[in-house]
């Protein structure tokens, strides 16, 4: 059980996402896989300086017992960015699907070249 730490889980998540990006031809699955990678990286950063027993840095917490506040502040930003990029790529995907009628990277190329 001692191997199941947040950092190891985050790295495993990252590589699961990487597998999805490399192997899956479906565009939706690509978007999902890239997101899994993104969350892996975010989880890694949040837990980076975590010591067991530390408490959230809210209000007037003692500095000694407080968890490192900087990664938490940064990762809020990263999560928001991840959501917006995902939203934009899903929007583009919907238009692409309406135009070419396929969710497969290779079929999209074939249909573009045919025209």
């Amino acid at each position: 059980m001692q191997y199941i730490t947040a950092q190891n889980v985050s790295l495993v998540l990252f590589f699961i996402g990487l597998y999805g990006v490399l192997v899956k031809r479906n565009i939706i699955k690509t978007i999902v896989s890239v997101n899994i990678m993104d969350f892996g990286a975010i989880l890694f950063l949040i837990t980076v300086n975590y010591k067991p027993g530390s408490i959230p840095p809210i209000g007037s917490t003692e500095i000694e017992r407080m968890a490192d506040p900087l990664p938490q502040a940064l990762m809020i930003t990263a999560i928001v960015i991840g959501i917006s990029v995902t939203a934009v790529s899903l929007t583009i995907f919907i238009s692409l699907f309406r135009k070419h009628g396929t969710a497969d990277w290779e079929n999209v190329i074939k249909r573009i070249q045919k025209r």
Binding site: V21, V34, A41, V88, L96
Partner: protein, 557 residues
């Protein structure tokens, strides 16, 4: 004294505040804002050159916690270049029909964000701004929304999102090791580490993401579909090729500086840069689409710049930095003139564009100026920077390689210069059609169908000629310019120009002979033109690049 964050947020705030103004007023407001911005950048530039590096912490936090903005000689020069280029391209777009409020908003937003990347002092800040440029550019690429624009946009955004997750994970490892994200502090603390091998992983993670942005060898497959996007407005292509790849190179310099003394990877990157340069001009020779030729020529020039940066000598370094500026100027000019010329002729197929001089005389002259610049014609800016890169490699085997790369560039532009030739006989074009080269999309938009916006032609001509003149001026006045920008003395004399002219003429002759004698006739690599990497293949190449960089860093550096 002007605070540095003003340079970043002024364009963003102005673009947001004026968004609901009527289109014609908004346009003039933005031009005014850009002029003010350029003036501010010049003031900050003077301050940096007289008073040294400016560091600014947003929010009044102490070192290492707040968001740092840094203006040193290199970054403020890049900011100056960005500000100038965005202003010129915005003016070029003055009378374009696609210049609605959303386009103007995104264009100015991109200006602020790109300048932010150049000024950013910490890694997380860089990450945020890179993501912002990704979103903005992907929408700008698809702006005309037809044919394959959607595919190009989706490929661009997902590939960059994929690459930037590597960057974020690298930032995580850096934070884990050092507890800070400020690049100057990391560079200090890195010297205190006993065992630096563990840093190989974050180093490879960061640099592979930056390599994707800079479009070096296995990672450039996204570039043609974005820069050469069939439907992207030419000013957008000019910004992408002129500035956005330079963002990658700039970050490469920054991160290499942070890790200097720990990892010595110049050998690896020199080889990669050489392969990039060769692959760039080879593929450019294969294609027939004007914009794709220019896009792949960018890849080849990136390779040249990276070769200079990794040569390990100061002369080559300054040559490369100067070439970054020069390339931004003449490639932007090439893209905007290509846009005008293809529009006037009605096709983007280089084998069918002929005799442009009478059709668009002024743009033909501007294209000629830009071509002389990029091929390193005597007295043009390209010749000085290429000479410096070459002088920095003198005595190494790399010197010969620069000649080969330059020959390749000349061959590409010998091909590009076909557009000046008189119309060829119908038999030959029939033969070309049989070979299946006629598959390049013909622009269907009829010219002059609507009432043109006043000032349109004048703005386009003035900007094109101005950039062309700057190319020539930067070459003739290279020595004072280098002293002004980098405080670096240039070893240039009259004999230098004579020698350069001779070399240029000889290389040009060889280039023409090789192109029309060998490349033009052979049907080699037609398959390359047809072949397109799928998304999965590009990602696989990316992961392979990351893995090999990691292995190299871990074992050799």
């Amino acid at each position: 004294m002007i605070p540095l964050y003003a340079l970043v947020i002024l364009p963003v705030l102005a673009a947001t505040a004026g968004y609901f103004l009527p289109r014609s007023i908004y346009k003039h407001v933005l031009i005014l804002v850009q002029l003010v911005h350029l003036l501010m950048v010049v003031l900050v530039f003077i301050e940096v050159r007289t008073g040294g590096v400016i560091r600014h912490y947003v929010g009044g936090w102490s070192d290492g916690i707040g968001i740092a903005l840094v203006a040193d000689t290199l970054s403020i020069t890049m900011v100056l270049l960005a500000s100038l280029l965005f202003l010129l391209l915005f003016l070029f777009n003055y009378g374009k029909r696609y210049m609605d409020n959303i386009f103007q908003f995104l264009f100015i937003l991109l200006q602020g964000v790109s300048i932010g990347v150049f000024l950013a002092g910490d890694l997380f800040h860089v990450y945020v701004l890179i993501e912002l440029t990704t979103i903005t550019i992907s929408i700008l690429i698809m702006y005309k929304r037809d044919k394959q624009a959607l595919y190009d946009g989706l490929l661009y955004i997902l590939l960059n999102l994929f690459g930037v997750t590597f960057f974020l994970l690298g930032v995580g490892f850096i934070y884990k090791t050092f507890g800070v994200l400020d690049m100057a502090l990391i560079a200090e603390r890195i010297q205190l580490l006993d065992d630096t091998r563990g840093l190989a992983l974050p180093y490879a993670l960061l640099l592979s993401a930056i390599g994707l942005k800079a479009a070096i060898l296995p990672l450039f497959s996204w570039l043609p579909s974005a820069h050469g996007a069939l439907t992207a407005p030419s000013a957008v292509s000019a910004v992408l090729s002129g500035l956005q790849v330079k963002v990658g190179i700039f970050l490469f310099l920054r991160v290499q500086w942070v890790f200097s003394g720990v990892f010595e990877t110049t050998g690896f990157f020199f080889v990669v840069a050489l392969l990039t340069a060769v692959a760039g001009f080879t593929i450019a020779l294969v294609h027939h689409d004007v914009k794709l030729i220019l896009a792949f020529s960018t890849v080849s020039q990136i390779g040249l710049i990276m070769m200079g940066l990794n040569a390990g000598t100061e002369v080559a370094y300054f040559g490369s930095v100067f070439h970054i500026i020069n390339h931004a100027l003449f490639k932007a000019l090439l893209f905007i003139t290509a846009g005008v010329i293809t529009h006037a002729v009605g096709t983007r197929d280089i084998t069918r564009i002929r005799n442009i001089a009478p059709k668009a005389p002024l743009f033909a002259v501007a294209t000629l100026l830009a071509m002389l610049g990029i091929t390193g014609g005597p007295f043009f800016n390209g010749s000085v920077s290429k000479y410096l890169i070459q002088a920095g490699l003198a005595g190494q085997p790399g010197e010969v390689l620069i000649y080969i790369v330059n020959l390749g560039t000349i061959m590409v532009f010998v091909k590009y210069a076909q557009m000046y030739l008189p119309r060829r006989n119908p038999a030959a074009s029939q033969q070309a059609a049989d070979e299946g080269v006629g598959d390049v999309v013909v622009e269907t938009e009829p010219h002059g169908a609507e009432q043109p916006i006043p000032g349109r032609a004048f703005a386009m001509k003035a900007v094109a000629l101005l950039i062309g003149a700057v190319c020539l001026a930067a070459g003739v006045l290279a020595a004072p310019l280098m002293r002004l920008l980098f405080d670096h003395d240039l070893p240039v004399s009259g004999a230098f120009y004579l020698e350069k002219t001779l070399i240029y003429v000889v290389t040009l002759a060889i280039g023409i002979a090789l192109y029309y004698g060998v490349v033009h006739r052979s049907r080699f690599l037609v398959a390359v033109r047809e072949y397109r990497f799928t998304f999965n293949t590009i990602c696989l190449l990316y992961t392979g690049f990351f893995a090999s960089l990691l292995c190299y860093t871990y074992i050799f550096a």
